[in-house]
């Protein structure tokens, strides 16, 4: 048993009085696209922060590809193959789009301090190899024009894409996307849907998607998990979840049921 890529059991974390996560259980299978939805303050971002090692949960288990994630530093978790984007863009603002993406090749660099310091031929080969990889990602996301531009100067939609590219450059097994479409135009959102499908189907990367745009979610998610007040209140296919009374209540309030 237990061959799920990600298994979370009884995950709990409190900030002061409130439990941002109160005993969350969920699993993610390899190769699936799971959407994680829920009203503001439900705990979606907090769950991502726990999985990435930014927050230390008070209780519960997190297992990823056979590894226990508890107590690991964020960089160690990145090495295991979990990557993410941030709800409020966390790019390296003064770097170019290319350098942002190259930074995420860090864990794949096979040269050490001295090769870099002395610019050995080994360093050159390695750097060019990762450059080629970064260029592929820029092509995939149609970001060639932004290559040498400082990311802080790019429009929000493009910044979101650079962040997606950076997350991909890590070559993760599991990709956590925190509201990737927020701040995008309708057109950009449409493109994003195709790109997310490509990431899933062509690159074979498992995705957990946090998204407020329910139309977008229902179109691509295979399974939806609904979080409210730090608890999973519903889970199932998009169609099942949309019918679920608790979900309707959580989203639209009591009166909408009657």
């Amino acid at each position: 048993m237990g061959q799920s890529l990600l298994e979370v059991k009884d995950l709990t974390i409190r900030f002061g009085g409130i439990a941002a996560l109160a005993g969350v259980d969920l699993t993610v299978e390899e190769g699936e696209l799971v959407a994680l939805i829920g009203p503001n303050g439900a705990g979606k971002t907090t769950l991502f922060n726990c999985l990435c090692g930014i927050y230390r949960p008070d209780r519960g288990e997190m297992r990823f590809a056979g590894h226990d994630l508890r107590g690991l530093r964020p960089d160690a978790i990145a090495r295991l193959g979990i990557s993410r984007t941030f709800q409020n863009i966390e790019l390296f603002r003064n770097m170019t789009a290319l350098d942002n993406i190259l930074l995420a090749r860090h864990i794949h660099m096979r040269v050490g301090f001295w090769d870099a310091a002395l610019a050995t031929s080994r360093w050159w080969r390695e750097e060019v190899r990762h450059r080629a990889r970064a260029e592929e990602i820029l092509d995939f996301l149609d970001l060639q024009a932004a290559r040498h531009r400082r990311v802080a100067d790019l429009p929000i939609g493009q910044q979101k894409l650079v962040e997606l590219g950076r997350a991909l450059a890590l070559e993760p097994k599991l990709l956590l996307l925190d509201e990737p479409s927020s701040g995008m135009t309708a057109e950009e959102k449409e493109d994003l849907v195709f790109r997310i499908k490509d990431i899933l189907e062509e690159l074979g990367i498992t995705i957990v998607l946090v998204e407020h745009d329910l139309k977008l979610v229902m179109g691509i998610a295979q399974r939806v998990i609904v979080l409210d007040h730090g608890q999973v209140i519903a889970e199932g296919t998009p169609a099942e979840v949309q019918q679920h009374p608790d979900v309707i209540r959580a989203y639209l309030g009591e009166e909408s049921l009657s």
Binding site: A78, V111, E135
Partner: protein, 327 residues
């Protein structure tokens, strides 16, 4: 195939015939300079080279990695005293004492880097400031070690049978060392190591989530930065022939800091430019010694307010403007 060549061009430090010719001319001027220039100027340029080392080291830590240090005179002192004491008290030959000056400063850099990992912003600055003051106090009061206020006379460096006694010889030693360490700094900042530094500066959370070990890279930045300062300290001791604790006070730390602010945070050319200008400034203002702290302080505030990217940043913008001019 065509693309591949372009990546390598992007990585090259010197590209194209004019750039190579310019570099060759600059090298020739640097080699011929001490043979033609008056001794006083040779001394000044040697001092510039030493200041460039400190400025590049400080910029790696502050400009690139975003960790402000107001205690760099402490590392310069550790380098100067390591080299001096090893040669005078232990009789270690110059080349080893010289190398060890860098490594002992780097060691203290790592040590300082460990506890300050948890500090950011003003707290970190205060910790480094305290470190600089502590080094000065130890050197002043532990007379058995340092010779205290009496100072320490530093012998001329010698490599095998050759003694580097003349101004010109010390010039070549300092300029050569600075040249090599500048090249290494360039290599580091265009590699994954430099990217990790800048990533930590811009968003340490994202850097960590993308696989950068903060502890390794922050302590590396501290150690590396201190290494440059330590080597500069050893060179300074040899240039002056004498060291004493008053040469390594908070005032010097602020002086080094003003170099990178004036030249430009987070760039190597900016470090060089700032060090050169801030070496000339006190020479020009030699009649106003007491006012120098105010001049440095005022300069830092002025540049921070008007041109946060320093003079090198301003120059890049002028160049861009000229290129695109009539349009």
């Amino acid at each position: 195939m065509e693309l591949r060549e372009r990546y390598e061009e992007d990585l090259a430090l010197v590209l194209g015939l004019p750039a190579w010719l310019g570099l060759l001319v600059a090298l020739a001027v640097l080699v011929l300079f001490p043979l033609l220039a008056p001794r006083y100027l040779v001394y000044i340029v040697t001092l510039m080279a030493i200041h460039i080392l400190v400025a590049i080291g400080l910029n790696l830590l502050t400009g690139y990695t975003g960790q402000i240090s107001l205690g760099h005179a402490g590392f310069v002192a550790i380098g100067a005293y390591t080299a001096g004491l090893l040669m005078v008290r232990v009789g270690v030959p110059f080349p080893f004492a010289f190398l060890l000056s860098g490594f002992s400063a780097a060691f203290f850099g790592f040590l300082l880097g460990l506890p300050v990992l948890r500090l950011t912003g003003p707290y970190l600055t205060i910790a480094t400031l305290g470190f600089g003051i502590a080094v000065h106090q130890v050197l002043t009061n532990w007379e058995g070690l340092s010779g205290g206020r009496m100072g320490l006379f530093i012998p001329k460096p010698s490599i095998g049978p050759w003694t580097l006694a003349s101004e010109a010889a010390l010039y070549y030693l300092a300029v050569g060392t600075t040249g090599v360490l500048t090249w290494i700094a360039y290599n580091l900042v265009r590699s994954h190591i430099g990217r990790a530094f800048v990533a930590i500066r811009d968003s340490d959370v994202a850097a960590e989530v993308m696989g950068v070990n903060l502890m390794v890279y922050k302590t590396l930045a501290f150690g590396l930065s201190a290494f440059y300062a330590g080597v500069a300290g050893a060179l300074q001791g040899h240039l002056l022939g004498y060291i004493e604790p008053q040469m390594f006070t908070l005032f010097e730390s602020i002086y080094y800091f003003s170099m990178i602010v004036v030249g430009g945070l987070g760039t190597i050319p900016g470090s060089i430019l700032g060090a050169v200008l801030m070496t000339i400034l006190p020479q020009v203002l030699s009649g106003l010694r007491e006012w120098l702290p105010i001049v440095y302080g005022g300069t830092i505030i002025f540049i921070m307010a008007v041109e946060p990217w320093g003079l090198y940043g301003r120059w890049l913008r002028i160049k861009w403007w000229l290129k695109t001019w009539p349009f």
